[in-house]
């Protein structure tokens, strides 16, 4: 018996469905991703070797080297920040909201503590100080 070798069939790779899938992924990430508001000023957080726990705070407050404050892409002063935070905490309806302070490495400690005290006065219970990995 003679078995004939089947002739090699030219199979064309289906590219169109592949691109469809890529577009779907793209659309998914565009919809899911939250576009963070641009920071109104540059902040370089201090470096810490053992910067410990994960972030996990939903709200980030910026503190510039000269003491200016920003929240949600807007520059504001301390009483305004407290008011805005109060609103956010009220929206959370009792769920614990973590707040993180992203302060510049060169800002004076007194200012940092004043801001932290103000945040606590506004009702924030879980506070964190953001740092980058590095050798201090």
């Amino acid at each position: 018996m003679r078995c004939s070798v089947p002739p090699p069939r030219r199979v064309r790779e289906p590219i169109a469905p592949l691109i469809d899938v890529v577009f779907l992924l793209l659309i998914f990430f565009m919809l899911v991703g939250v576009i963070a508001p641009p920071e109104p000023f540059a902040v370089e957080p201090p470096a810490a070797e053992r910067a410990s726990a994960e972030g996990g705070g939903q709200l980030t407050i910026l503190l510039a080297a000269d003491g200016r404050l920003a929240f949600e892409g807007m520059e504001l002063d301390l009483p305004m920040l407290q008011a805005r935070l109060g609103e956010r905490l009220a929206e959370a309806e009792g769920r614990e909201v973590g707040v993180e302070l992203k302060a510049d490495a060169t800002v004076a400690s007194g200012r940092v503590i004043a801001v932290l005290d103000a945040l606590r006065a506004a009702g924030v219970e879980r506070l964190g100080l953001l740092t980058v990995r590095g050798n201090p």
Binding site: A47, G110, G128, L129, L130, P136
Partner: protein
């Protein structure tokens, strides 16, 4: 005059430019995304600001020019870690208060906090001068 119908041309879809666009979009989002690895140092809310236990209170004062004081006596960073470990062996749940002078830059404060946490202290409070 006889008009010949135009033969339907078979157009190939332009796949390559489409793939290019997809890659450009991908590149854009990769560049725009913030990849800085930020870590948080958790800060305790001082439960009782006024009535802190005064018995074995550990207060680290951080003065200008990198001078550290633990309960009033000047210490170095390494000695501080040693003393803290010693105190922790008696009371693993102790609270340490860090009190920086208001002009000290944050980086200096974070370095001290880093060492304090590295020594095993879990309860760290910041107080102002």
């Amino acid at each position: 005059m006889r008009i010949e119908p135009i033969p339907p041309r078979r157009r190939r879809s332009f796949l390559a430019p489409m793939v290019d666009v997809v890659f450009l979009l991908l590149l854009y989002f990769m560049l725009v995304a913030n990849v800085q690895d930020l870590r948080a140092i958790p800060l305790n809310a001082p439960a009782a600001t006024g009535g802190a236990p005064t018995e074995d209170l550990l207060v680290i004062r951080l003065l200008a020019d990198d001078v550290l004081e633990l309960n009033g006596t000047p210490v170095g960073l390494d000695e501080l870690a040693l003393r803290l470990r010693d105190a922790l062996s008696h009371d693993p749940d102790l609270t340490v208060w860090v009190r920086p002078a208001s002009a000290v830059p944050l980086q200096q404060l974070v370095r001290v906090m880093d060492r304090v946490r590295a020594a095993g202290v879990h309860h760290l409070n910041l107080v102002s001068e």
